[in-house]
């Protein structure tokens, strides 16, 4: 802070600090505190607010874990987001390694462009494209039937559809951090390891993954948080059996009209995401400053 004032003078420096403070307090802290306040109060009729029934309670939170269906959906969202994260990592890591170390510059560039161009289209439309591809009478089933791989059309929408849609939607958030960190690895190290007789698996386990761990952690954190907070993919590609926790929150706010319960659910999701970030960073022994790089 003194650095800022030293560099820009008290006037401009103070202005910048005030802007940042306004942002953090007005846009981040205040709404979340209001949400916290909401979540700790029961839903009341307007004329009861401020009355004797307006007391602090944790019943909105206990309700989530007391309700068998909501609890199941919450846990499924956690595990589903974890699955999205792992599936995205499994697809992205070889791709990132190929782009950073194996492909020619032209090949890597072509791949990058091919991956980025679909993202020029709005997320809802992209997900809708998956809706069409995966639909019961859609092109994927038609193709699989025509080559004889399946005898009857498969209902892809549901758990599989949600997984596929999310992996596709978040692949770049995983790809870029991993690609960036692998591309800073000196190629001679890979050759040296190979020259010393190391197998491909050992080269990745001992050289590439330790080097790229900050990128992998960043990608995993991004993907998990985006998946846990996703709404479009489960809403469009899911089935009644694959409801996502965000849909429950949405329903409390906009259909159930119970903002207090919705706020409690949303905060639980927020705490979950923060916990996953912390645990992931701990596992990879990376700190937040590395992630920001």
């Amino acid at each position: 802070m003194t650095e800022m004032i030293k560099r820009f003078g008290p006037g401009l420096g103070g202005f910048f600090i005030a802007l940042v403070a306004l942002w953090i307090i007005g846009m981040v802290l205040a709404p979340n505190l209001m949400m916290l306040n909401f979540s700790l109060k029961p839903m009341l009729f307007p004329n009861d607010i401020g009355g004797p029934k307006d007391v602090y309670t944790v019943e909105n939170y206990t309700a989530l874990f007391g309700d068998r269906v909501h609890r199941a959906i919450f846990l499924k969202t956690v595990w589903g987001s974890g699955l999205v994260m792992l599936a995205t990592l499994a697809i992205t890591y070889p791709l990132a390694f190929w782009m950073a170390k194996v492909a020619t510059i032209r090949g890597a560039r072509a791949m990058l462009i091919a991956l980025i161009i679909p993202f020029w289209i709005n997320e809802v439309l992209r997900t809708l494209a998956w809706f069409i591809i995966l639909s019961f009478n859609g092109p994927l089933n038609a193709f699989l039937l025509s080559i004889g791989l399946i005898d009857a059309p498969v209902r892809w929408q549901g758990d599989f559809g949600v997984l596929a849609g999310m992996v596709y939607a978040y692949i770049l958030f995983m790809l870029f951090p991993i690609y960036n960190s692998i591309s800073t690895l000196e190629t001679a190290q890979l050759e040296a390891a190979k020259n010393l007789g190391a197998s491909t698996w050992r080269i990745h386990r001992r050289i590439v993954i330790p080097h790229a761990k900050a990128g992998i952690a960043t990608g995993c954190v991004f993907t998990f948080m985006l998946a846990a907070g996703s709404y479009v993919a489960p809403a469009l590609l899911g089935s009644p059996g694959s409801r996502w926790f965000t849909e429950i929150i949405y329903n409390w706010f906009f259909e159930g009209g119970n903002w207090n319960r919705g706020a409690a659910y949303a905060l639980v999701l927020l705490v979950l995401c923060m916990a996953v970030v912390m645990v992931t960073l701990k596992i990879f022994r990376v700190n937040l400053a590395d992630v920001a790089k």
Binding site: E191, A193, N195, L196, A198
Partner: protein
């Protein structure tokens, strides 16, 4: 005795560019063999062929009389020391050294023990738990050597490993490398663009230019009897004067040049009437104030004192730049800049080489 390396008519092309042309050499087991050439001459390509990172476009590579075609880098009896060293920065020193053993499934306790022995060998005992970034340049160098030796390679491939070190350390490491090679008996193939490095360490040196092998010889032979004009110019300092051969007799040839007529030893295959250059080492040049046979008239330009001797730079009437070594005891008679002098040489100390087919 460790394995020999045989290169038979090896060629490597990258697209239309031929990095190595018809290279053949036999490197004996336990030999310290250098490949010397300017940067971009294809020497690193050649080393990577032997290591197995690339397969030759044509020709064969034999290590210990075994054809290496189709055998990948991780299954060849070679270990390479990279120009950048390529140590693993996230592992402590001992794990770096033992990495090759780890890849071979040696148990941890044994790996650790072997790493300690190798640390002893490279005079860095007790450094096992340090990280690579805590070491100095020379120490890293030695760790890279230990890491390569840990897998007990038959052939050690070194790609300009000393180029990042300062002069003093480089000279020290030269002696260490040479001693290590004698002690371990491993075949060393050493790549460098530094001719003094190649001459100081090697049993034999191969000189390469633009992908073409120029000559394979001992350092002494290379300096005294270069086979091509490129080698004569690249290895050590020399005075080269171009002209036409006029008369060949009893191993001596006469060359007419813009500077006059000179007699020198005829190089192999020299023919009467062809374009050729005469090469005279600066230390073979004698300084005088009068014209002698086989002498060049010149004007002194500068005198650079180098400690053990001084290097006189002069320029002839026709603009030919000339070098002559002036020993310390003759420094008193050294000419002033601008002074007219004569530089002469004995015919046995000059070599006339055909310029035919020499592109550079």
């Amino acid at each position: 005795m460790s394995h020999s390396v045989e290169l038979i008519d090896v060629e490597q092309a990258f697209g239309d560019v031929k990095a190595v042309h018809h290279f053949s050499a036999h490197i004996a087991g336990g030999e310290f063999f250098s490949i010397l050439g300017p940067s971009g001459c294809g020497k690193t390509t050649l080393l990577r062929l032997i290591a197995g990172f690339t397969e030759p476009t044509a020709g064969r590579v034999l290590i210990g009389d075994k054809d290496m075609a189709g055998i990948p880098a991780d299954r060849r009896p070679t270990a390479m020391i990279f120009q950048s060293l390529a140590l693993f920065p996230l592992m402590p020193v001992w794990e770096n050294i033992a990495f090759g053993l780890e890849a071979r499934g040696v148990p941890k306790a044994q790996r650790r023990k072997r790493a300690e022995e190798l640390l002893e060998l490279i005079a860095l005992p007790g450094y096992g738990t340090r990280m690579v970034h805590e070491l100095s340049g020379g120490q890293r160098q030695r760790v890279a050597i230990a890491r390569a030796l840990a897998v007990e390679p038959q052939v050690l491939l070194l790609d300009e490993p000393l180029s990042a070190l300062d002069l003093k350390l480089r000279q020290h490491m030269r002696a260490e490398l040479r001693a290590l090679q004698k002690r371990t008996g491993v075949t060393f193939i050493y790549i460098t663009h530094d001719q003094s490095e190649a001459l100081a360490m090697s049993d034999r040196v191969a000189v390469m230019n633009a992908g073409v092998l120029q000559q394979i010889a001992t350092p002494q032979e290379l300096y005294a009897n270069p086979a091509t004009p490129f080698t004569a110019r690249f290895v050590g300092e020399t005075n080269g004067i171009i002209g036409t051969v006029r008369g060949l007799e009893a191993g001596l040839a006469t060359l007419t040049t813009a500077e006059g007529r000179f007699t020198g030893r005829a190089g192999a295959g020299l023919e009467d009437g062809e374009r050729a250059s005469i090469f005279i080492r600066p230390e073979a040049m004698a300084l005088s104030r009068i014209a002698l046979p086989n002498s060049l008239s010149a004007r002194a330009v500068s005198l650079e004192y180098e400690g053990a001797s001084a290097m006189l730079r002069a320029v002839s009437e026709h603009g030919q730049e000339l070098l002559a070594t002036v020993p310390n005891r003759q420094l008193g008679e050294a000419p002033q800049a601008g002074e007219q002098i004569w530089l002469s040489f004995q015919p046995e100390e000059a070599l006339i080489l055909s310029e035919k087919g020499a592109a550079a």
